[in-house]
Symmetry: C2
Subunit: 191 residues, 2 copies
């Protein structure tokens, strides 16, 4: 693995467990075994680092979602996969997904990074709306109203559930908050 990739991995972990403001180039240097000045060689400013973080993350998650869409038997199982993705990002209640971590520290992030996060939010919300539309056709989710409203509501729900669960250091709070939505999923057929 390249040093750049190693730095990005540690930076993502630190950002998601401690928050963007709560880790420094010194922490990153300690984690990778090089010196602060060498970290600056790879990412000249923290603005550059945060932008690289959200770009890598966004690409990875969008690919995962597209794969879920293609492999799922119906909309319900695709959305169950989506819930698992956000549930797993919590770990033992000590980690957030990068999108929530970045949304929680808008003040310390440069405009270009924030714009990229907003693009990611739109991508995910579009994906969700697509699955709710699919559910209107395959009948795998109970009482779907407007797919776009459903998507906006579910996105806010999982982000809020992560925030609460991580603040309480208890991942069960996530499960509790989304359980009502989970109950609307009719898994049926395949899985």
């Amino acid at each position: 693995m390249t040093m750049r990739a190693d730095l990005l991995n540690h930076a993502e972990t630190l950002a998601r467990t401690r928050g963007i403001d709560a880790f420094s180039y010194a922490d990153l240097a300690a984690a990778t075994g090089i010196r602060k000045a060498s970290v600056h060689y790879h990412f000249a400013t923290k603005a550059d680092l945060t932008l690289a973080l959200i770009e890598d993350y966004s690409t990875r998650i969008v690919e995962t979602l597209d794969h879920m869409k293609d492999q799922s038997a119906n909309a319900a199982s695709a959305l169950a996969g989506f819930l698992s993705l956000y549930r797993n990002a919590l770990g033992d209640g000590d980690s957030l997904c990068l999108c929530v971590a970045f949304s929680a520290s808008t003040d310390s992030l440069p405009a270009t990074t924030l714009a990229r996060v907003e693009t990611f939010r739109h991508d995910v919300t579009d994906w969700l709306a697509g699955q709710f539309q699919r559910a209107r056709e395959d009948g795998s989710i109970r009482e779907v109203t407007d797919p776009r409203k459903e998507a906006a509501a579910l996105f806010a729900l999982v982000e809020g559930a992560q925030l609460v669960a991580r603040a309480a250091r208890n991942s069960d709070r996530f499960t509790d908050a989304v359980s009502q939505f989970s109950d609307r999923l009719i898994m049926g057929v395949t899985q």
Copy 2:
């Protein structure tokens, strides 16, 4: 108004608009017209300040909710008031409620403050569960399932909707995210 109260007011505004980490005793001194050292006279450490903030805030909000409960014609109008409270806290999309602001920076807050925030979350969730129970009796909300599940879901929804709306600097995102829930409220009779 006492200097202590003046400091708390400005600190709450700064915490909600910029975040806990992003304001300093220097900002607080500039806002109130006294010097940094004088701020330390009123709140020796930032830990003391954050604890005072959540205690004041919690008392105020719990009183507001109890008043809403007593004055409302039914559960639906009480919950409509709850949504307005969180919607208004957003301002023009540039402010969070203190609970979300604190949940977003758990790393820089002392354990006693975090414990007080968790108590506040329980108080609000209990209030919500009470209103959903009330709705099962007055029929003012469509298809209420388990009141405790409904409460956990609605709390996560409004916190997540605030986070997203504030990150996008657009309060409409809050309204969009909660619109599906709003549609379940049957306002009817009085208001």
